[in-house]
Symmetry: C2
């Protein structure tokens, strides 16, 4: 199924308590070499038809304006997958 | 910074109420051509050093056993990014 994948992460300079908790837990289980963990969102937009370049452009706008909160989040990627 | 990206999505046959809410909202704003929306997680594991193939193998195990809940989620990708 054709889909557009939108990847959103918390901004670098913001605390990410959920990621911090996962990092601590990984450290306790012996993975001290993982220096940090950040947890973001992966949003799939499904289409019943072929995805056009226009769809991708619109998805980028929606990712920035609607799917993410630009005060605390960055859109790191908007990609097409067939 | 070298990192391993773990992508996790709710299983296909499970309801995803958050995704459904976003889909409804997109439909209301005129994007009826998006047939469905699914919302999953994008987890970054950061390293202060080069990532080895062994790190990637271990990350795959951790993604399956610890970072995801295999009753309700699928690990869709574990990739390296430099």
């Amino acid at each position: 199924m054709p889909k557009i994948i939108v990847e959103i992460m918390p901004k670098q300079d913001l605390l990410d308590p959920q990621g911090k908790a996962v990092a601590n837990s990984l450290h306790r289980s012996g993975r001290e070499d993982i220096s940090a963990v950040r947890i973001g969102k992966r949003i799939e937009l499904h289409f019943d038809r072929e995805i056009t370049d226009k769809d991708l452009e619109e998805a980028k706008t929606q990712a920035a304006n609607f799917l993410s909160n630009d005060v605390i989040e960055d859109v790191v990627a908007v990609t097409k997958e067939d």
